[in-house]
C-alpha cells in the first residue's frame, strides 16, 4: 500500500501548493493579498462593502437588484426628485436567492429602502437550484433564511470555500491575473460608490455596439449554457421571490420587477429553437399572481420595443449597453408606480 500512501501524500501536497498559489495571486480579490490585479471582481463582495459605506453617508432610498444585465442601470435615473439615494446592487449571475439575501442584508444594516427595482432574467429562476459559486462564498449566503437544506455534513462552509478554488477556471484566471500584471493592464471592472459599474475609475463605460455583421455563435452557445436543462421555473426560487415580495410589503417598500431582454436576433433564435418562449410565458403567468397577491409592479421588457430600446445598443447579445439601460430606467420611471 506504499504506492497508495505516496499517491495520497503527493496529491495532498499538490492541493496545498495550489491553494497557496491561488491565495497569493488572488484573481478574484478574495484574500486581499493585492499582489496581482483583481481580474474578475467579486461583485457580491465588493457591493456588500460599498453599500455599507454608502449607507453611512445617508439614507438609502432605493435598491437596484438584478444580474450583470442590471449592472449598468444608473441609480441617478431612479432617484425621482433627486432626493432619494439609490444603490445599484446588481451582481453577476444573480438568482432569486441573491435578491432575497441582499434585501435581508440591507435590512440588517438598518437600510429600509422605499423601493426595489428588480431586473429579472429567465435564468434567475433556473430549475437547477444551483447557487452561483460566488454566492456560496460570500457573506450573503448567511442572510438567506431557510438556506439550503442540501447542506450535509460536507457543506461545512470552510470546506466549500476551500473546495471551490479547485477549478480550471480559477487556475486560468490566476494565470490571466499574472499576465495582466506583467503587461501592466488594469482590472476590467470597477464600481462607483453607488454600485454603478464603471470600466475605469471616473470614466464612462464605453459604448458597445452590435452591428449587422455580428457573429452570434458564441453568444448562442453561452446563452444556451446559461439556460441549459431549464425545462421549468424553479419552485424554490419562486418561493424566494414571494418571500421577498411579502417582506417588502411588510416594510412598505414598492417593488418593481422588469423582465430583462436578450438581443432581438438571439431572442428570435432562442424562440425558434428552444423552450425560451414557454419560459417567458411562465414568468408572465407567475407575474400576474405577484401583481395581484403582493401588489408589485411588473413590466415585461423581454421585447426591447416595450421600452423603446435599440438593436445596436448592446455590449453583447445578453447585455444592453448604458444607452439601452437608460431607456429602461426612464421607461420604468414613467410607467412604474408613483414614488419611483
Amino acid at each position: 500500500m506504499r504506492f497508495l500512501v505516496l499517491f495520497t501524500l503527493v496529491l495532498a501536497l499538490f492541493c496545498v501548493i495550489y491553494y497557496d498559489f491561488i491565495q497569493f495571486v488572488d484573481p478574484y480579490g478574495e484574500y486581499d493579498t493585492g499582489t496581482f490585479p483583481v481580474l474578475v471582481l467579486d461583485s457580491r463582495r465588493a457591493k456588500l462593502q460599498l453599500l455599507h459605506r454608502f449607507s453611512e453617508q445617508g439614507a438609502v432610498g432605493g435598491l437596484i437588484l438584478g444580474s450583470s444585465r442590471s449592472l449598468l442601470m444608473r441609480p441617478g435615473l431612479l432617484s425621482g426628485d433627486g432626493e432619494s439615494r439609490v444603490f445599484n446592487f446588481a451582481v453577476d449571475n444573480a438568482h432569486a436567492e441573491d435578491f432575497l439575501a441582499i434585501y435581508h442584508y440591507a435590512l440588517a444594516q438598518g437600510i429600509n429602502p422605499k423601493f426595489l427595482v428588480i431586473g429579472l432574467d429567465i435564468a434567475s429562476l433556473h430549475s437547477d437550484d444551483a447557487h452561483d459559486h460566488m454566492f456560496d462564498r460570500s457573506e450573503l449566503k448567511s442572510y438567506l433564511e431557510h438556506a439550503d437544506d442540501t447542506s450535509s455534513w460536507l457543506s461545512i462552509k470552510w470546506l466549500i470555500d476551500a473546495k471551490s478554488v479547485y477549478t480550471k477556471d480559477y487556475l486560468k484566471d490566476s494565470f490571466k491575473a499574472i499576465w495582466m500584471k506583467i503587461r501592466h493592464q488594469t482590472p476590467k471592472t470597477k464600481f462607483a460608490a453607488d454600485g454603478y459599474e464603471l470600466q475605469y475609475s471616473g470614466a464612462q463605460f464605453p459604448l458597445g455596439e452590435i452591428g449587422p455583421q455580428h457573429d452570434f455563435s458564441d453568444d448562442i452557445k453561452s446563452y444556451m449554457q446559461r439556460i441549459a436543462g431549464m425545462r421549468d421555473l424553479s419552485p424554490k426560487r419562486l418561493d424566494y421571490l414571494r418571500q421577498l415580495f411579502t417582506e417588502a410589503r411588510q416594510h412598505n417598500a414598492i417593488v418593481v420587477v422588469w423582465l430583462t431582454p436578450i438581443h432581438p436576433r438571439l431572442n428570435e433564435f432562442m424562440i425558434q429553437n428552444t423552450n425560451y418562449a414557454d419560459l417567458i410565458k411562465k414568468v408572465n403567468v407567475e407575474a400576474e399572481n405577484w401583481v395581484s397577491a403582493y401588489g408589485i409592479h411588473y413590466e415585461d421588457y423581454s421585447d426591447i420595443r416595450a421600452f423603446g430600446g435599440l438593436e445596436t445598443a448592446w455590449d453583447d447579445s445578453s447585455h444592453m449597453n448604458w444607452r439601452n439601460m437608460d431607456c429602461v430606467a426612464r421607461a420604468l420611471v414613467s410607467e412604474g408606480p408613483h414614488g419611483l
Binding site: F3, L4, V10, M224, Q225, F269, N273
Partner: protein, 456 residues
C-alpha cells in the same frame, strides 16, 4: 452516486477501501462489498435497492435449483422462469410506457394507462448480469455458487453496477474466490493508473466536448454544415471518451479490490469494418448479445437468410436495450443492416486498402451516432441533412470544439486502448498519477456531470 463526485472520491471510496483491506476473512469482504454497493446504489434512490436485491435473489436460488435438477428439461424450465421474471422487471420499468404508447395504441383505442415509472439506474446492466449467470449455470459453464454474499457481490459490485462492463460470473469467479488474498503493490498502482486515465478521459475530454456540443444540439435546426459535422464528430469522441473513461475507472476500481474486470473497449474508431467495430466497441455488451441472443437464435448455423435475420434481430434488440425510443431501434437496425452488408461483401471489402476501410467504417459509425444521439427522427433528419449540405456552410463552430475535434481525431486513430497500457508501478509514478488526478479534479469540480451510459 457517480465516480466523478466528491462524495464518491473523498468519502465513499476511502471508507470502503480501508474497511475492505482491514477485514481479512473472505466472507467479511463479500459482505463489505455488497453492503457498500447497495449504499452506492441507494444513494441515488434507496427504494430501488429492493429491485436489485429481488432480482439477485431470484437468480441466485434459481441457479441452485438448476444445478440440482436431474433432467435437462427441468434445468431449462428453471432457467426460463428466471429469465422471464428478470425480463418482466426490466420490461416494466424500461419499456412499459414505450410499448403502451407506441404499439398497443396502434391496434386498439383503449390502451392501458401510461404510468409514471422511474427508470432504475443500471437495471439493463444488472439484468444482463443475472441472465448471463443463470444461462451459464444451465449450460454447465459455471457452477452455481452457494455463497449468497459472493453472488450479491458479483451482481451489485459498485464499480460496474450502473454502467458496466457487463461482467459474467465466470470472468471474475476466480478473483472472487481469492478475494481474501493480501493486497499487492502492483495491483494498487495499476488500479490507480486505470482510474486516473478514466477520470481524465471523462472530466477533461468528454465533458469539455459536451459543453460545446450540447448547446448546439439543443438548437440543432440552427446549425451550419460545418457545425453539423463538428457536432457529429464531437459527439463521436464524447461518447467514446465518456464510456471508455467510465470503463477504465471501473477496471481500475476492480484492481483496487483485487478483481480483474474484463476489457470493454479496443480502439473502436480504428476498426476496418462494422463487424470489427463491434468487436471493439462496448465489448462486454456485443459479446453478451452474440453469446446469449445471436447464438441462441441459431447464429449462422441455419443458412444465409436466417443468419441475416438473426443479425438484424440481435441488433434491433441491442438498440432497444439502450433505451425505449424508436431512434435507438433505428440505430440498431442501421447497424444490423451494415453487419449484413459486411458479411455479404466480405471478400470485396478485404481487397480495399486498410486506410479506406478505416475511413469508411468511421464515417458509417458517425452517421449511426447521429441517430443514436437524436431525441427524435426529425432531429436526426435535420442533422444529417445539414451534414450533407442542407444549410449555410460555415459558422457556429466554436474554437474549443474545433480544438477538441482536431485533437481527438489523431488520438483515437493512433493511441492504444488503455487496456494495453503497461502502467508503470514504480513509486515515482505515484507523482505522475497524483498530478493527473489533480488536473482531472480541476475540470471535474463543480461540473456535476453524469456518464452518458447511466441513462441506459
Amino acid at each position: 452516486m457517480v465516480f466523478n463526485s466528491d462524495i464518491f472520491l473523498f468519502v465513499f471510496f476511502p471508507i470502503v477501501f480501508i474497511l475492505f483491506w482491514s477485514l481479512k476473512a473472505k466472507q467479511a469482504r463479500y459482505v463489505i462489498l455488497t453492503v457498500s454497493s447497495y449504499v452506492f446504489y441507494g444513494y441515488w434512490d434507496w427504494r430501488f435497492c429492493w429491485l436489485l436485491f429481488i432480482s439477485s435473489m431470484i437468480s441466485f436460488f434459481t441457479a441452485i435449483l438448476v444445478d440440482g435438477s436431474p433432467t435437462r428439461r427441468r434445468r431449462l424450465t428453471w432457467m426460463t422462469a428466471s429469465i422471464v421474471i428478470d425480463l418482466t422487471i426490466l420490461g416494466f420499468f424500461k419499456y412499459y410506457n414505450f410499448f403502451i404508447s407506441n404499439i398497443f395504441g396502434l391496434f386498439t383505442s383503449s390502451a392501458p394507462p401510461l404510468l409514471r415509472v422511474v427508470l432504475p439506474v443500471g437495471i439493463s446492466f444488472y439484468t444482463f448480469h443475472t441472465i448471463s449467470y443463470i444461462v451459464d449455470v444451465t449450460q454447465g459453464k459455471v457452477r452455481a455458487t452457494r455463497n449468497l454474499f459472493e453472488y450479491l457481490t458479483y451482481v451489485s459490485l459498485f464499480s460496474q453496477l450502473v454502467a458496466g462492463p457487463i461482467v459474467r460470473f465466470r470472468q471474475i469467479e476466480e478473483d472472487l474466490e481469492r478475494i481474501d488474498h493480501p493486497p499487492k503493490e502492483e495491483q494498487v498502482a495499476v488500479g490507480i493508473g486505470f482510474f486516473v486515465v478514466g477520470l481524465i478521459k471523462k472530466c477533461v475530454i468528454a465533458d469539455s466536448i459536451a459543453k460545446e456540443i450540447d448547446p448546439m444540439l439543443a438548437a440543432y435546426s440552427g446549425m451550419s454544415v460545418a457545425g453539423a459535422w463538428a457536432a457529429a464528430l464531437g459527439y463521436t469522441f464524447q461518447l467514446y471518451y465518456d464510456f471508455s473513461g467510465y470503463s477504465d475507472m471501473a477496471i481500475g476500481l476492480g484492481h483496487l479490490f483485487g478483481i480483474r474486470i474484463p476489457q470493454n473497449f479496443d480502439s473502436p474508431y480504428q476498426a476496418t469494418g462494422i463487424r470489427d467495430f463491434w468487436r471493439r466497441w462496448h465489448i462486454s455488451l456485443s459479446s453478451w448479445l452474440r453469446d446469449y441472443l445471436y447464438i441462441g437464435l441459431g447464429g449462422n448455423r441455419l443458412g444465409e437468410v436466417r443468419t441475416n435475420l438473426n443479425l438484424m434481430l440481435t441488433m434491433l434488440l441491442g438498440g432497444l436495450w439502450h433505451g425505449a425510443s424508436w431512434t435507438f431501434v433505428a440505430w440498431g437496425a442501421y447497424h444490423g443492416l451494415l453487419l449484413i452488408c459486411d458479411r455479404a461483401y466480405e471478400q470485396f471489402w478485404a481487397r480495399v486498402p486498410v486506410a479506406i476501410r478505416r475511413f469508411v467504417t468511421f464515417l458509417l459509425v458517425i452517421f449511426g451516432w447521429v441517430l443514436f444521439r437524436s431525441a427524435t427522427f426529425e432531429m436526426a433528419r435535420v442533422w444529417l441533412w445539414k451534414m450533407f449540405g442542407g444549410a449555410a456552410f460555415s459558422g457556429g463552430v466554436t474554437v474549443p470544439l474545433l480544438f477538441w475535434v482536431v485533437l481527438c481525431l489523431p488520438l483515437v486513430n493512433l493511441l492504444k486502448e488503455t487496456w494495453y497500457f503497461q502502467f508503470p508501478t514504480t513509486r515515482w509514478w505515484a507523482v505522475v498519477y497524483a498530478l493527473a488526478f489533480f488536473v482531472a479534479y480541476l475540470f471535474m469540480n463543480g461540473a456535476k456531470t453524469v456518464f452518458l451510459y447511466y441513462q441506459f
